[in-house]
């Protein structure tokens, strides 16, 4: 029988010990990756087997300890409400967790900004959560709330098998093993979603697109009004958009007479050939600052900047946009979008399709289709769908269209066609990271980053 030098050495130790924890071998001065390699080699030769035991332990976090000290937020809320209903602003503990949890359990009712105890809530006498934590009666919900940490300890043991007992060490020839696996080095590596975004960026560059840049805090004017989104459009509701309290508003003098062109376009169509939305447009509403809800705002800024001589031109950006959403498995408040525009005199819908087809083919999607949808700022509004071979279904990848004349003319000041798209590349990132939960795109578990293979559109 042949074994590598290291495996022979481990085998010799194992012959006398019968059982050996990996850790013991490491403590004797053997290198961690060498131990793992040798163990595998012995297992392949049926001389030994590797037993893996996982022990899960729970440990209170700082947050958990503070709940034991101060009581759970939901119980403290119940205590506060025992004196009668309260307005949200009167609750002087971090209200979102407290209200969320108490509501989940049916302890409170909320009506028009006022919080009061439900019948069930009135019966609560004991802080159940504190008792559970004190008695170390830990569960998954405690982990989810960050009160308790789950610590997994893995113990690997090498156990001598019958064949191993029979084989004598002296009969083993030493031979260098070129076939065995090895531990990869802990090298630098991009987060898998960054890698996908870099690849997408490269595709746009190869297709001749120039990068755009822009800020997170923008005016309603460039985020909505310039895109012909009426001021009472539901997208401008508090539920969807983060409004900025400080700095509250933009100085729209920055945009000169463009503000008035946008006003007129909304009110009666200006000279765009449109009837307009026919309402009284408010400059104050347009000045309100928001966190950009889409990277299309950056395209607006680019159109403002362009001169007739710059045409035709192709531009892209991959960056953050923000929506005032409750974050869960399928929603983020803060996410990346891939945005692009092509500006020129002789562009049409077939060209829009050309660019999108090209991009998605390069990103590994061969089947691709356009389905009619609606955006206030595009005509031939399309939802881009690609066919996911693994799932056997069409997936929405984002929106696209030709900017309406009501958008283009006030911004450019001359006639041109603008092809535009805003793509959600989250789905590609989730595929790359094999994620079920969208929050994984912005999670940074060290092992997950190491273990995730580099994404490649061909795979």
């Amino acid at each position: 029988m042949k074994l590598s030098q290291q495996a022979k050495k481990v085998f010799e130790r194992l012959k006398s010990a019968k059982h050996l924890r990996f850790q013991e071998l490491e403590e004797e001065g053997l290198d961690q990756s060498m131990v793992a390699r040798s163990a595998k080699e012995l297992e392949e030769k049926d001389l030994a087997e590797i037993e893996t035991e996982e022990e899960v332990a729970y440990e209170l976090t700082k947050k958990g300890r503070s709940v034991i000290r101060e009581g759970s937020p939901e119980y403290r809320l119940v205590e506060i409400l025992e004196d009668g209903p309260k307005e949200f602003s009167e609750i002087n503990i971090p209200a979102d967790v407290a209200v969320g949890k108490a509501r989940e359990r049916g302890w409170i009712e909320i009506d028009d900004g006022e919080v009061r105890l439900s019948d069930e809530g009135g019966l609560i006498e004991e802080d159940e959560l504190v008792q559970q934590l004190k008695n170390e009666n830990f569960g998954a919900d405690h982990v989810e709330r960050g009160l308790v940490e789950r610590i997994t300890e893995t113990t690997r043991t090498l156990k001598l098998m019958r064949k191993g007992e029979q084989v004598k060490v002296d009969n083993i020839e030493e031979e260098f093993n070129v076939e065995a696996d090895a531990e990869p080095p802990g090298i630098g590596k991009k987060h898998f979603y960054r890698h996908v975004m870099d690849e997408a960026k490269d595709v746009w560059l190869e297709m001749g697109f120039q990068e755009m840049e822009g800020d997170y805090v923008v005016s309603g004017l460039t985020c909505f009004d310039a895109l012909y989104i009426a001021q009472d459009h539901p997208a401008r509701d508090l539920q969807d958009t983060f409004f900025v309290e400080d700095p509250k508003a933009s100085d729209l003098n920055e945009f000169g007479d463009m503000v008035d062109k946008i006003r007129q376009t909304h009110e009666d169509g200006w000279k765009t050939g449109s009837k307009g939305w026919q309402y009284d447009w408010s400059e104050k509403e347009a000045a309100r600052n928001v966190l950009r809800t889409h990277t299309t705002e950056t395209s607006v800024q680019k159109l403002i900047e362009l001169e007739e001589d710059d045409l035709p031109g192709k531009y892209f950006i991959i960056s953050r946009a923000f929506r005032n959403e409750t974050v869960d498995r399928t929603h983020l408040a803060d996410f990346d979008q891939a945005e692009g525009i092509v500006v020129g005199k002789d562009l049409n819908f077939a060209h829009l399709k050309g660019y999108l087809t090209e991009f998605f083919e390069r990103m590994g999607y061969d089947r691709f289709r356009l389905v009619p949808t609606y955006y206030p700022y595009t005509e031939m509004s399309v939802e881009i769908q690609v066919y996911d071979e693994d799932e056997g279904e069409w997936l929405g990848m984002g929106g696209s269209g030709l900017f309406r004349p009501e958008v283009v003319e006030p911004l450019l000041g001359f006639e041109a066609t603008v092809l535009a798209w805003g793509l959600g590349i989250a789905r590609i990132g989730m595929g790359a990271g094999e994620l079920e939960d969208i929050r994984g795109l912005y999670s940074n578990d060290k092992e997950k980053i190491y273990e995730t293979p580099l994404w490649n559109p061909e795979r």
């Binding site: 997994t152 400080d246 005509e379 940074n444």
Partner: protein, 546 residues
């Protein structure tokens, strides 16, 4: 986006042909509404906000008769002359100034049709009507009421009736306080001292818009004649909503009859005319259609076309979304099929390129990756506790504040990058040490720009475990080596650092960042039982000076 549910059997009857499930699954969505099969005859349909006329099975059937080639061109609506009048009092000007009315006679209703009408009414209220603020619709059985009608604003305590879903007479104020619908929509009448009502010639209340109708006029299976009122704050919206309801009832063989509202005959079902430039259609779509082909596509989408003296398109009175010939072009292309065009790539000769700051960012990322560091990808949104309190520093005047965050966790925009990497360390407590992460990304803070804020590119590095200041210093040194620059470090006493393990980083006399070992207090605040060190750099300043 509004969704409605319809019965396919009913749809087939109205279309006048049996449409297969396969056709609905494969083709129907290409008209611009999305079909999803629920079970048996039940389908869910997602309708986009530009087509409120499709929020009922009647409207869908009318559109698909065209799309599936059953019946093309403009639908004709015969509007009979009538004798019913409604007088609008000036008292409504302030509270709810617009009203549009019509009568539809000779209906043969059933439970399903009534539910469909209620669904249409509710969906119009929510989306097109902005939760009844912009428009509200009332449908009334005419057998118990007598014209002429009056629309006026009254004092809330002085008028009473028995609203739907209630068992006794109560006044308008009590409706707002006690009735479920009253509570839900009372906000629309906030700050008003008079509320709108529609009454008949005997002072019977028909409706208290936008809240609730009188039980007296409830539409039931034996209802034959319906009086429709639409009230609201925008004249166009109110009139269009009336047209949508009337055209739906007309699909049910109802006879439309005019109502005279303050001297104006309603509903006005005359199509609006738009000029269309056929060359422009081809230019924008990339198609090469003859005028005759353009006409056919438009007729499939239920428009009328007149080809004498130019090319004129008649837009049906129930369409709310056509404001530019661009809108007609979209419908032409939909009829042609989005997937029967192109793709083509035009000749736009341009080299691709990154912004200077991205190019520099990518260099820095490269240096860090080659130096063995993992790249993190973190949220821009965070909370002030993480940015300041846990880092043992004062809250900053340059911090951006949000008005309406849904949760504390995502309640502000980060103003520096290091706290994001502390979050990453916290997420990795179960993993082995040492750990190293970096990120190069934007932060935002208040500034003297026209918005009052701006983005800045920062770079942060962090390491935790049995490490010290020198481990962070070595990574910084890698940047110096690879970019061929010489940084100066000056001893400092940052509040988040350990005494004597804190320095500010200068480049050509410009302060561009800090480096140091974080204090035990900071580590404890983040609940990390390790030594932690790192640095943060102002990438834009660094680049400027190079």
């Amino acid at each position: 986006m509004p969704h409605i549910q319809i019965n396919k059997h009913e749809f087939d009857e109205l279309v006048g042909a049996k449409v297969t499930d396969e056709t609905l699954n494969e083709e129907a969505s290409f008209l611009g509404v999305h079909w999803n099969h629920i079970n048996k005859e039940k389908w869910d349909i997602e309708v986009y906000p530009n087509r409120p006329d499709l929020l009922c099975v009647e409207g869908l059937a009318r559109a698909y008769r065209g799309y599936f080639d059953q019946e093309k061109g403009l639908e004709k609506f015969d509007v009979e002359e009538g004798s019913i009048k409604l007088e609008k009092s000036e008292s409504v000007e302030k509270v709810r100034p617009h009203i549009a009315c019509a009568v539809v006679r000779g209906l043969k209703l059933n439970e399903r049709m009534i539910n469909g009408l209620i669904q249409l009414q509710e969906k119009l209220h929510v989306s097109y009507g902005r939760q009844r603020d912009k428009l509200a619709i009332g449908l009334h059985d005419m057998s118990e009421i007598s014209a002429p009608f009056t629309y006026k604003a009254v004092e809330p305590e002085k008028v009473s009736f028995t609203p739907l879903e209630y068992d006794k007479d109560i006044n308008l104020e009590e409706i707002l306080n006690n009735h479920e619908k009253g509570q839900e929509y009372a906000w629309i009448l906030d700050d008003e001292d008079r509320y709108p009502v529609i009454v008949d010639s005997n002072d019977n209340v028909l409706s208290f818009p936008p809240i609730i109708n009188n039980q007296l006029t409830e539409v039931e299976n034996d209802t034959e004649d319906i009086f429709i009122d639409v009230t609201g704050k925008d004249e166009q919206t109110v009139k269009k909503a009336l047209n949508i309801i009337v055209s739906a009832l007309s699909e049910r063989d109802g006879e439309i009859e005019e109502v005279e509202v303050d001297g104006e005959e309603m509903p006005d079902m005359t199509p609006e005319e738009f000029e269309l430039d056929v060359d422009y259609v081809n230019q924008v779509s990339g198609l090469d259609l003859s005028p005759k082909e353009v006409r056919e596509r438009l007729e499939e989408m239920r428009y009328g076309v007149k080809m004498k003296d130019g090319f004129k398109v008649q837009v049906p009175a129930y369409r709310t979304d056509v404001m530019h010939q661009y809108d007609l072009i979209e419908d032409i292309v939909i009829a042609h099929g989005y997937n029967n065009i192109g793709p083509e790539l035009p000749e736009v000769d341009q080299d691709g390129g990154l912004t200077e700051i991205t190019r520099f960012t990518d260099e820095l990322r490269d240096v860090m990756l080659r130096a063995g560091v993992l790249e993190a990808n973190t949220y821009v949104l965070t909370k002030e506790e993480d940015l300041f309190d846990k880092m043992e520093i004062e809250r900053s005047n340059y911090q951006i504040h949000l008005e309406n965050p849904m949760t504390e966790e995502y309640s502000t925009v980060r103003s520096w990058l290091t706290p994001s990497l502390f979050q990453v360390l916290q997420e990795n407590k179960h993993n082995s040490y040492p750990q190293e992460f970096f990120e190069v990304e934007d932060i935002a803070q208040k500034a003297g720009t026209y918005t009052g804020a701006e983005n800045k590119k920062k770079m942060a590095y962090i390491t935790a475990g049995e490490i010290d200041y020198n481990d962070a210093r070595r990574k910084l040194q890698a940047i110096e080596r690879d970019l061929d620059i010489d940084l100066q470090l000056e001893k400092a006493s940052k509040k988040f650092h350990k005494n004597s393990r804190s320095a500010e980083i200068f480049f050509k006399d410009e302060k561009i960042g800090f480096i140091g070992e974080y204090s035990e207090q900071v580590a404890e605040n983040w609940d990390i039982d390790q030594k932690i060190a790192g640095f943060e750099l102002d990438v834009e300043k660094l680049k400027e000076e190079i």
